[in-house]
């Protein structure tokens, strides 16, 4: 067996795993025990490779063979990545998925997991600078991958990548959402809080002012008491939650709260007034200084600041509180 496997450096980064480990083709016959032995060897080999997936030399050549799904007497011959088409990759996925779902072959499931771990790493890396450990994100992303493999419907005709990616992202975002609450808040209240964020963002431009609790309750289909309780939960929402999904659902179209945040305004840097001169302000970041300036020296309401900066009113509220806490901590006795 002298098969070649190369990495396409221009490949989709989400396809890392399959680039490096998968998409093997069957071209030679393999019979009986030899097939099983080869399968085990290949699984072991690919597990080893998965551990070093990020370091795989793009020119590495590996020997590999797997049995073809439809023709068990054949083995897989690995061909260069550039010579393999998307169809071939899909065939390998389909083969392993059928082995697992139709024959209960746990090794096929394990191999799929191993093959797609680099995809999990790739997705986790996108969120790794947002306050949580990369390894933890890989771990929760792997749960999403396993769920995707286990729930994959062979009859749907979609690619595993297509199905697994939103599952993995959803699991990572759910982790951020749950971790983002500094105290345990019932899921129902979290979701109402998230819904209120949207409702408030819709009501402010419509009413041209900050809405009342009754108006929010009516728009959200909740009671005023429920609204107050849900709004109170936002106080338990810590900074990590900026990355959390606002709707709490899985899916590619999810947008994290971070995505609602505006870009830094030039005004952050050009402010030259007493806000900037206040000694305690030196410890605040530019956006915090800007928001405090708008609130306490320009007299803008939270909703007006939210519109100007491009974030939610709730987020403005949290930022003001955080900035005031920082000022208290930094200035110490004799100040706030």
């Amino acid at each position: 067996m002298t098969d070649a496997h190369t990495i396409d450096p221009l490949g989709d980064p989400f396809d890392e795993g399959r680039d490096e480990l998968g998409r093997r083709r069957a071209t030679e016959p393999l019979a009986g025990d030899e097939r099983d032995e080869t399968f085990d060897e290949r699984v072991d080999e690919e597990r080893d490779q998965a551990d070093d997936a990020d370091e795989v030399d793009e020119t590495d050549e590996v020997d590999d063979e797997i049995p073809d799904d439809d023709e068990d007497d054949e083995i897989v011959r690995v061909v260069p990545r550039t010579a393999r088409g998307k169809d071939e990759s899909e065939k390998l996925d389909q083969f392993l998925l059928r082995r697992y779902h139709l024959h209960g072959d746990r090794r096929a499931r394990d191999q799929l997991i191993t093959m797609y771990l680099p995809l999990v790493r790739s997705l986790a890396r996108r969120y790794s600078s947002r306050g949580e450990h990369f390894d933890d994100l890989v771990q929760v992303g792997s749960i999403g991958l396993i769920k995707a493999i286990d729930r994959f419907d062979l009859t749907r005709g979609v690619e595993l990548t297509t199905y697994a990616t939103p599952n993995i992202i959803g699991e990572i975002k759910r982790y951020f959402r749950d971790k983002g609450w500094s105290v345990r808040v019932p899921r129902g209240l979290q979701e109402l809080n998230i819904r209120l964020n949207k409702v408030i963002d819709e009501l402010v431009p419509k009413l041209q002012r900050s809405p009342t609790i009754n108006e929010i309750a009516e728009a959200a289909g909740a009671t005023p008491e429920e609204v107050l309780e849900a709004l109170e939960t936002s106080q338990a929402y810590n900074s990590v939650s900026l990355q959390a999904a606002p709707n709490g659902e899985s899916g590619d179209d999810e947008t994290g709260l971070i995505d609602y945040m505006g870009t830094e305004e030039e005004a952050y840097d050009t402010m030259e007034d007493r806000t900037m001169l206040a000694p305690g302000f030196a410890k605040l970041d530019a956006r915090e200084r800007y928001i405090l300036h708008l609130r306490f020296f320009e007299g803008l309401t939270q909703s007006q600041i939210a519109a100007r900066v491009g974030i939610s009113q709730m987020h403005v509220s949290r930022l003001i509180r955080r900035a005031l806490e920082k000022l208290r901590a930094n200035i110490g006795e004799g100040a706030l």
């Binding site: 900050s210 609790i213 929010i216 000694p279 302000f281 306490f296 003001i320 706030l336």
Partner: protein, 129 residues
Amino acid sequence: MADLIRLEVTATPAAMPVVRMVLGGVAARVDLSLDEIDDLYMAVEQLLSAASDSGEEPRHELSIEVVDDGVSVSAGPFRSSLLRSRLSDDDGTGFDLKTVMRGVVESVEVCAAPNDCYRVVFAKRRAGA
């Protein structure tokens, strides 16, 4: 007769959710906006934090009263001269308790209370009221 709610609280972060819920419930009845309610929350939080920083005893009474066009809060009793000065003087930092309180509520008064103490009374009113 105006509604009056009295709360005796320990000025700790753990007590704040209760204070906010009561304040929010009262404020919602007079149709203060979300921004105005959050301002009211911030006034109470900042005042009690400053009281704590000024060496005040941690237990305070909050009297929350519905007024025609908003909510009035009376907090105390306080003894600290440092807290009193923070409410009325610039502290030289350019951003002090007085600035914050006046930024979030319409009126802040220091009223004499028995035993050489004082209370801080502030009000948040509906916009346009």
